[in-house]
Symmetry: C2
Subunit: 263 residues, 2 copies
């Protein structure tokens, strides 16, 4: 495999940083090709702004998505963004290592997606008609690639259980797994989540490292999350609402509707 | 009222920027005191990293939350963070204006929370025992303050409806409204969401501006979202799972469980 690992923690010695090293070492020892994007070490620019589009007219109203489309099409994106796009094209598997801060990604990783996912590169492809609403959610650039999150969480697994106050972890990660990865075509593996990250003893760490290695050995064979493909018949177009009859009770709501449990 | 408006869009001429001006003007015309944090204009630093804690030992493993607690307690946070904390203490109402990018806040605003929400300032208060698990989710520093999101969205309201592919908008915004605002004690108003932001005609804009002004006139009286307070009896402690019998069917899951519909 060709694996890109994107890492977003300021401290290499953190639990997340240690697990990142576990991933690198395990994949290399399996003979895979590994490339990395250590965002803090790279001093990655987090915000998308006018500086991302050097050719954009300085007096024109900045529309970030349209500006990214123009810059991508004319090959005038900044070098840091181009380098990440090239890595994404190279990889057949992408692993994201990050701590869950305030129920989502660190800002620096959010900004990586905002800047690297140019319109026309990562999305905005395909026809828009009555049967097909763009190549997205199951189609798109990354359709033959796999992706997985490796996430460290400070608090307890119970808080992220079905009835936990933080919400189910699969719902908390849905905007990333479904909204960013599946959206652009990735086949998304179940996330690997490590809880109570700040309190971990050395002995527990070794157990966690081994649990992660096991997941990594199964990267190519693990069943991916069966999100419903947007254009495969489950949705009304263009409202993109789940068709009546699916998920039985029409009062059911929430992110989990968009996983086909029969699949 | 004393209103802080936090704005996170790189383009003042964007729809979001125009609505931000509507908010400033309407609140001032009502006689309220208004302060602002225009994050892009301030060149706000998005990432939390070691530079946020100038007194932290350079050779010590960086634990961001603990480092923020030490820096807050010793008054050694950076001036930009101190200024934002002072504004939060001053305000009785905080309004966040931002575009929904990839189903969450722009990176620059996510980083504002990561950097300004120091441990010991915005959270980490109160006792932890069998009946009370910290002053959070309904208690805490901001308990007598109100907060509201004003969010622009590129795509259609149907996509964010109960059965829409993006998930219900209230679920999409739950990590912000519940996980960041209610968590730190804010009473959270229903979000004001404007869809199809990139396609808006001038005439539509005037209607949207007036809809926003109406919400702003009712800031003090609008019923806030009835999220369940963590320590008020609805949750098992310390697992923080919703007690059996609440929300009827114990198979129910998802963010919406944490709103008390009877309230």
């Amino acid at each position: 495999m060709k694996v890109l690992i994107v890492f977003a923690h300021p401290e290499p010695q953190s639990l997340n940083g240690s697990l990142y090293q576990v991933t690198i070492n395990e994949l290399k020892s399996q003979g895979h090709q590994v490339r990395t994007s250590d965002l803090y070490a790279m001093k990655w620019k987090s915000e998308i702004d006018r500086a991302d589009f050097p050719s954009y007219p300085v007096d024109a109203r900045l529309r970030p998505a349209f500006a990214s489309a123009e810059a991508y099409a004319s090959n005038t994106l900044t070098d840091d963004v181009k380098a990440e796009q090239e890595k994404l094209l190279w990889a057949d598997t992408v692993i994201f290592h990050f701590p869950l801060w305030w129920y989502s990604m660190p800002a620096i990783l959010k900004g990586w997606f905002e800047r690297v996912y140019s319109l026309g590169f990562a999305y905005g492809k395909g026809e828009y008609n009555e049967k097909h609403w763009g190549d997205r959610y199951g189609e798109g650039l990354f359709v033959n690639k796999r992706a997985m999150l490796v996430v460290t969480v400070g608090s307890w697994p119970e808080h992220y259980s079905a009835r936990g106050i933080a919400g189910p972890i699969d719902d908390v990660l849905y905007p990333v797994n479904h909204g960013l990865l599946f959206y652009a075509g990735f086949q998304v593996l179940p996330s690997h989540v490590v809880y109570r990250a700040d309190k971990m003893a050395e002995t527990t760490f070794e157990r966690e490292a081994e649990a992660l290695r096991e997941k990594l050995r199964a990267l190519e064979t693990t069943k991916t999350i069966s999100y419903r493909a947007q254009n495969a018949g489950d949705y009304e177009i263009p409202t993109l609402t789940l068709k009546p009859g699916l998920e039985g009770d029409s009062t059911a709501t929430g992110f989990s509707l968009h996983i086909d449990k029969s699949n």
